[in-house]
Every structure is written in C-alpha cells, then in structure tokens.
Symmetry: C2
Subunit: 223 residues, 2 copies
C-alpha cells in the first residue's frame, strides 16, 4: 500500500474508533453485553444462532443485529423463529463499521436487554480490523475450511475472546486434523478458549452457551 | 460510507486500474491467459490446483501466483508438486492489488507460458472489486457454504466468467440443494458457465479443464 492509502485507512479507523467508543459508553451504562460474531462466508454464523434461539431466550433477554452486504435473508431466517432482529446492510461493504452499528444500537431497548449478538459480514479479514464497540469478538471457523486458517488470517484470532469451531458433525467426512487445528490456534493466541460444536447435532452448544452466560455475568457486575 | 471514503476508494481503484491495464498489455503481447481464482477461505482453491497439476502440465506451459495475507503455505504446497509458483503476500491486506500482481507478472517468462493462474486471498468480497489485469475471474463456491452466497456476494458472480462449485463429494452429508444453488447463480448472472466438481474424487475436473483450454485457445488467437 502507498503512504496515502495507509494514512486514509488510519483516518477511517480513527473515526471508526470514536463511534465504537460511543457504543461502549451506551452498553457500559446499561450493562448490556455485545458480542461480535466473525467468520468466513458459510461458516455457520446464522445457523448457530438459529440452533440457539430457544436456549438464548431461556437464559437472556437478547436481540440480534445481522450484517449482510446485500440481502435481508439472514434476518428473515431469525425473524421466522421470533428473534428480535435488525438487518444492517453494508451495500457491498466488506465489514460492519462502528457508525452503522451505533445507529442500530441507539435504537435498541438496552435497559431491557442482557445481550446483543452482532453477526458480521462473512469475511475472515476486514471485520477483524473494525472495532464496533463490542465486549468480545468471537471467531468462527468451520472444519470444512481446513486447519491453517488461523495462521493465514491471524488478526481475527488474536483479537477474538473465543473461537468457535463449527460443523464438527462433518469431521468423519473430512481430512481436518483437530489436534493440528487447535495447535495452529494456540500458536496465534495461546490462551483463547476454543469451543468445538455442531449446530446440526447439538454437540458442544452447552459449553459455548456457558461462556456466553459468563461473559454476560461479568458485564452485569460492571467488570 | 462518507463522501471522503467513497472518493478515496475511487482514487485507489483508478490507480489499480492503471496497473491492471499495464498487465493486460503484457499478456496481450505474449498471448498468455491470466485467470484469477476468487473464493472464500477454505473453499478449496489450492486443493483444486493440486489436483490439476498433472493435467495442467500435460496441456499447458503454466505458472501460479499465490496470494496470501500472511503465509507461504500454499506456495509451498504447490512447489512440492513441482509447480513454478510465486508467493504474493499482502501483509494482512484483504485482496491482491494490480500493482503487486504486475510486479510479479513482469518477472514471469511470459514468452514461454500459455497460462498464469492467480489464486487470490480467501475472500468473497474485496478481490471482486480489484481488477488485476486478468482475462477471467473465476468464482469458487464450496457446497459447504450454502446456496445463498451468490445473492449475498453478487459482485463476484457478476464479474466472473465462470463459477466452479467445489467439494461436491460432500453433498450426501449436507443439506445443500444444487437446483437452488444454480438458480441463485443464474439470478445474479444468467449466462455464466457453472462447473460442479470435486478435487478429492476427480468428478467434473475434465469439464473445467476444457473451459480453461478454450479460454487459452481464444487468447492465443488474439481474440
């Protein structure tokens, strides 16, 4: 990149950071947790939310912000299940920026919520660069993508507070080596909790739900 | 995006377009075909090339440019198979830009090549915006990603000259509906050829190789 390009990106990130800070002030005041789900297209972000709707509703007062470059498909999938959901369309943009998210967060009934789950645009790279004011980024990695993605896209795995490995029900049909995948995650981020789950079979969902519950409880205590 | 941001992106694209035109002049002079493979992380771009090395070598004088945000892993995979390959590292950048690609193309022995295959960074969005001087973008879509990706990431499917649907050997284990997937591709780009293949089983590779051969032949004729 040229010096000009670098400067422009720096300016963009600075403005973005200001909006993220605004959102963080909102959620600090109402002690609402905000989680930012990031992963490649088709890694199973919406499917994971679909499979958790019942359990999320039993444990939390929650809402979802759905990021998408063009369509309202994912929001409609969740709306059919009765989830309070807002669609954020980036019009071809490759990530959610903090200003767009802030506009949506301001409209959320934060005093009556425990957690807002944001599903970012399907992309392992750009969303990792853009703080949206969340309490935790969660990196999703499907076993169909191969073990080496944390090495190739390290920023997300460094920034995230948890990794969710999805679609483990497909392992018998793939050459994915879980020990190797876990080693590559550890190499990029030695202490990050990793959850292996399948939205289809239900395996591993409870452990990740517990992590979400702990994250919500920490925020409630104002930590 | 703000007006400033839009302007900056326009400038970036303009400079990028100039480098792409330079590359196009090079390949027009030597009648070398340049194909730009674009798809999500883990959709099977490198694996497809691995499975085709023998056949590519029998049909063409070829080389590969491997895009990656951070690592040389994919280039090493291909080098082990004897492929002439150059690694292009974007240092976290989310797409290959035309200037970086041009620097590599200038060093290629174009008079002794029929085709240069470029594997872009794993990303369904940003690489579609950046012309690198290629003759054809090819969109890769893995059946593990679900049918709706062409609707959600339409630009790539509009820009591409062919779609390759990968990993069809996994269809029996997935809920992917091929008729629906094909309909969504057609909705975005009505005339694009679509190839369904599996690098693992070998199904469908011959048809895509034939498309590549036809593309090379067209360029040789100077069309």
């Amino acid at each position: 990149m040229s010096a000009t390009t670098v400067k422009v990106y720096r300016d963009l990130l600075e403005v973005n950071g200001e909006w993220a800070a605004e959102t963080r002030r909102l959620t600090a005041a109402s002690r609402v947790t905000m989680v930012n789900l990031i992963g490649a297209p088709g890694c199973g972000k919406t499917r994971l939310l679909e499979s958790l709707v019942g359990e999320l509703g039993r444990r939390f007062r929650f809402s979802v912000l759905e990021g998408d470059p063009e369509t309202t498909r994912d929001a409609e999938r969740l709306q059919r299940l009765g989830v309070p959901v807002v669609q954020l369309i980036t019009s071809g943009g490759c990530h959610l920026d903090a200003q767009l998210v802030h506009a949506a967060m301001k409209e959320q009934p934060l005093d009556r919520l425990d957690i807002v789950i944001v599903e970012n645009v399907g992309n392992l790279m750009c969303p990792a660069c853009f703080d949206i004011g969340e309490d935790a980024k969660v990196a999703l990695l499907s076993v169909t993508e191969g073990e080496d993605k944390p090495l190739k896209y390290p920023l997300l795995f460094q920034e995230a507070k948890a990794v969710v490995i999805t679609k483990v029900d497909l392992l018998p049909h793939l050459e994915f080596d879980m020990a190797r995948g876990l080693e590559f995650i550890r190499r990029v981020n030695g202490r990050i909790p990793v959850f292996q789950l399948s939205a289809r079979s239900g395996t591993g969902l409870a452990a990740w739900m517990q992590w979400l519950a702990d994250t919500v409880a920490t925020k409630k205590r104002g930590e």
